[in-house]
Assembly symmetry: C2
Homo-oligomer: 319 residues x 2
């Protein structure tokens, strides 16, 4: 009899789910739109129906032992999504409670970056590592901090907001209402902002200058940089400089053995990893130098969010 | 039969020790100079002899169950002092091993700030708090980070170096060889540096201008500020501004329930606490606002280091 957990990734546009075994293999998966229903209760009912329909396609003797949910502004302690700016439902949504109306298996919820960190710990590159930081670079910058094999949730469930560490006084405006947060520089939109700033300031010719700013993405910058475009190379150098310095400060707090980078911008490979490592080392306190590795996440590309969420269930069930 | 642990505080000038019970009461204490002996083995032998002599003054049925040692650059995992700049012995000193030649009770070692954090957790204001940060303001700035009731040591035993988080790019020179570390602004010497900068820049009359810079201390600044000296008040405002911002970033990582401040400069009371709290709140991410208290340490003033070190032994023995 196979034991599986369900990994659910609630995103701003779509909600994906999958059935995952103990080693991270995905058996079946599905997806529904996140924001079609006005009431969150109806959305969860739709999601439960879609999951149950998919369960019928699994082997008959499959046992579902738990549900792990990754969500924006997810709070592990409360099983809630709290004030998520990208979802249509306001305030505090008690997701775990709503799930319990449809499933008898235990459900656990955390935010996306924490789920990714647990995924890395259970199935990925951090299986042998007890102290590490997972940094997710995407629309924003998130993080999951693992200390001595346990995720750091903080007293209220909201620890690990490295994306909102202020790295530049009076810096770029952030969606959080403050200025100079790490994510305004090192998220995918942050990389685009750096490119636009350099385009505005620089006389150097660049392929990026042929792309309308509205259409420009961090991926365009990566492609141009990989073809030797000087301005684009400078964008990644600047991004790595800011990220590397922020990581050096993170190390002073936590002294992790490794840092994992996850998400779209990491597809640029050495373009982002090399300057990040260089500037982290340059800014590290002596006792930490040449000790900390920066690795790309080993979570499976397309299924990372589902697999990370499922890992949360495995992790909690093993306690 | 009373059970006691021995708390040992190895300092740059003196090494103090005391016998402490489970609730933090100190039964007897003593002190020897730290740097009289050329060989560290001889220093530990002297220390052991002093401790054993003092044991004879305790009730006959007293049982010594463990030894906790706080030391600069102390490494919990290895039981070592590693490359401490203020001690005469170079390299790595295996202190716990050396203790075991003189005592049969288990010995544990960590750095001073971690010991203070454990003291706060076992005997002080953090007895009911599972997630907090202890900040020690003194010659330097140290910290002990507690997550879910456990001290964060990091993969190598050196986590919690908040004093060496870079808060000002190209800022003040630090003894660590880098620039802009928090401790160059918020330690006692850092506060003095801020005062000297303001004296150099400001036309305002101030009692501090009658004190030779060589003799000026952060305590002078606190006394003058408490008497309404405007320049001195500004020094504390600036100190609190930098500390408050650094704490706001610390909260983004760790989401503690409380932050405790310990050490000489905290004697200034509201002068340091008020601006620190104000600027922390101003710089906090929304979800953390009005949630985190900043408290003065409740460890006993003169015996804090001994008591903190003894708490390490109680903490480890209870595992």
């Amino acid at each position: 009899m196979d034991q599986l957990t369900i990994g659910v990734d609630i995103g701003g546009t779509n909600t994906a789910f999958g059935f995952v075994d103990r080693v991270g293999k995905v058996y079946a998966k599905g997806c529904i739109p996140t924001q079609d229903q006005e009431k969150v209760e109806d959305f969860i009912a739709d999601l439960a129906a879609a999951i149950k329909k998919k369960i019928t396609q699994l082997d008959e003797d499959t046992m579902i032992v738990g549900i792990g949910i990754g969500a924006p502004n997810g709070n592990f302690y409360n099983g809630t999504i709290e004030f998520a700016p990208n979802l249509r439902w306001d305030g505090i949504i008690n997701v775990v409670d709503l799930f319990s109306k449809h499933f008898r298996t235990p459900a656990y919820l955390t935010n996306d970056a924490n789920a990714a960190a647990i995924g890395e710990m259970i199935y990925g590159g951090a299986r042998e590592i007890k102290d590490f930081i997972m940094i997710t670079l995407g629309t924003g910058v998130g993080s999951g901090i693992v200390v001595n094999g346990e995720l750091v949730y903080g007293h209220d469930g909201f620890a690990g907001e490295i994306g909102h560490v202020i790295v530049e006084e009076k810096g770029r405006s952030c969606s959080c209402g403050r200025k100079g947060c790490l994510e305004t520089y090192c998220s995918a939109p942050g990389i685009k902002r750096t490119a636009l700033e350099l385009i505005a300031k620089s006389e150097v010719s660049s392929g990026l200058k042929n792309i309308p700013p509205e259409q420009l993405t961090s991926k365009d910058v990566a492609i141009a940089a990989s073809e030797g475009d000087k301005l684009s190379l400078k964008v990644f150098k600047e991004t790595g400089k800011i990220l590397g310095k922020a990581l050096a400060n993170s190390v002073a707090y936590l002294s992790p053995k490794a840092i994992f980078l996850f998400g779209g911008p990491t597809q640029a490979g050495d373009l982002i990893f090399k300057p990040t490592k260089k500037y982290m080392e340059e800014n590290l306190l002596n006792i930490f130098k040449d000790k900390i590795e920066i690795y790309p996440s080993q979570l499976p590309d397309g299924d990372a969010a589902i697999v990370g969420a499922s890992a949360l269930a495995w992790k909690e069930l093993s306690k």
